[in-house]
């Protein structure tokens, strides 16, 4: 009997995919934590094939065939929003949000993001080294931005950041994640009820007025949408900013190239997105028999798209293991692909560009205050990155 490789596997270096993934390109059977065997899709073309076909490869999280990549995904079945739905149900919800996430709208937030970043760096400089850039910089930037966008009071950040971490961490148990989801839902339900009495000017207030009051959404549906936007709106970008700092510091010649030409910032951020693959993998299940790179996928089979290796596929990216700030390739799958591609991707780009660009301009002597090998890496199966980022300058 063949022993299947496990999915997910822990990274040895925070910005490289786990070593074990590369052995089974482009498609192979792997075993999940609960013993279930699913297809791991590690090739770029195959990843796109699956992600572009929501009819054959469903995102319906409630369905028992939808594979739980880690225990917390079992709890996530009780949270119903568009990330875990298929068209046409998915499309209706996503379209309610589109106007708030256009390139124009996110660009209009840039001056506010810049002011926020400047203020945090003022504090860091005033305090002096050593600074831990996770709580002092990488986390508050997207956390404050998503609060202001949604109309969630940032004064509650300690609560929702803690609960969000329990929701996105690979090692979170079933009980912990179920409790975190329950607490986040209760918090957001209370917030939305308060907003129904005293409307504010955030996206949640707009959705209450346009969708809940008209009967297009129930309050509990809005709670589940708000939960997704709040959690995904800060935890992933916070990880990307912190790991982006690490990745740039560990590639000094690339950092020097970026410093010598600030116009490279957008392509540098795009390359960081490709290279780091903060979201390690995403799940689907087959609704019908299908051929996938010569393998016979059966209806009901689970599928995991391994973003970290699809982004390192030499067929799609020449010299894929090289980090090159001028690569200029946007066809990575770090935001997914297909109908579920990240709705907040342009906000994430803006936050990363402003945070990283300003940080390295303001603190030219920035360096790690601890060896890379000693930085605590986030657990397999969750949002990837580092838990702490002590730096000096």
């Amino acid at each position: 009997m063949t022993v299947l490789p496990d999915y997910p596997q822990a990274r040895g270096c925070p910005f490289h995919p786990a070593d074990g993934y590369t052995d089974y390109a482009p498609v192979a059977k792997v075993r999940l934590y609960n013993g279930r065997e699913v297809w791991a899709v590690t090739g770029h073309a195959e990843a796109r094939q699956v992600l572009l076909d929501p009819v054959t490869y469903s995102s319906d999280r409630v369905h028992p065939h939808y594979p739980a990549l880690a225990p917390r995904f079992e709890s996530a079945r009780k949270v119903r929003n568009f990330i875990g739905m298929d068209p046409p149900e998915h499309t209706v919800q996503r379209r309610m949000l589109l106007s708030s996430f256009t390139v124009k709208k996110t660009n209009a937030l840039r001056p506010r993001i810049q002011a926020l970043v400047d203020g945090l760096l003022d504090e860091i400089e005033a305090k002096g080294p050593v600074a831990d850039l996770v709580p002092e910089f990488a986390l508050p930037v997207p956390s404050i931005v998503i609060c202001e966008l949604l109309g969630v009071p940032y004064t509650d950040h300690a609560f929702f950041e803690h609960q969000s971490r329990r929701v996105v961490t690979g090692s979170t148990t079933l009980e912990e994640s179920a409790d975190a989801f329950t607490q986040l839902k209760a918090y957001l339900d209370e917030l939305i009820q308060r907003k129904q009495r005293e409307p504010g000017d955030g996206l949640l207030d707009t959705l209450i007025a346009e969708q809940v009051e008209t009967g297009a959404l129930s309050r509990s549906e809005l709670v589940d949408i708000a939960l997704l936007l709040l959690v995904a709106g800060h935890e992933t970008t916070a990880s990307a900013i912190a790991l982006g700092v690490v990745t740039l510091l560990e590639h000094p010649e690339q950092l020097a190239a970026l410093r010598s030409d600030a116009r490279l910032l957008p392509t540098a951020v795009e390359e960081l997105l490709r290279f780091m693959a903060i979201a390690d993998g995403i799940a689907r299940f087959a609704t019908a028999d299908a051929d996938l790179a010569g393998h016979q996928v059966r209806a009901g089979d689970g599928v995991v798209i391994v973003i970290a290796t699809a982004n390192r596929d030499g067929g799609a990216f020449p010299s894929p293991a090289a980090f090159a700030v001028d690569r200029g390739a946007r066809h990575h799958v770090s935001f997914g692909h297909g109908v579920h591609q990240c709705i907040g991707q342009n906000l994430a780009r803006a936050e990363m560009e402003i945070a990283l660009g300003t940080l390295f301009r303001r603190l030219p002597g920035l360096r790690l205050a601890r060896d890379l090998a000693d930085l605590p890496i986030k657990e397999a199966g969750g949002v990837q990155g580092v838990w702490e980022l002590p730096v000096t300058w």
Binding site: T91, R95, T102, G338, I343
Partner: protein, 63 residues
């Protein structure tokens, strides 16, 4: 060649606007709008690559 956009398929990722802001915009609803559909001769491959980035396959090139 001309670019055609299918607003029914569009899901507002904004990839087209990022690639060619002189050619694409997003409506108040967040859906794609083609500002200038004409693709100059010799530029077809560049636009095929841009269209290929669209996650909802809402854009196509027509003769």
């Amino acid at each position: 060649m001309r670019i055609t956009a299918d607003q029914e398929r569009c899901l507002g990722a904004g990839q087209c606007v990022l690639s060619a802001p002189d050619r694409f915009d997003q409506s108040d609803l967040g859906l794609v709008e083609v500002l200038d559909p004409e693709v100059p001769e010799g530029d077809e491959q560049r636009f095929r690559d841009i269209l290929d980035l669209c996650p909802s396959q809402a854009l196509s090139l027509e003769a």
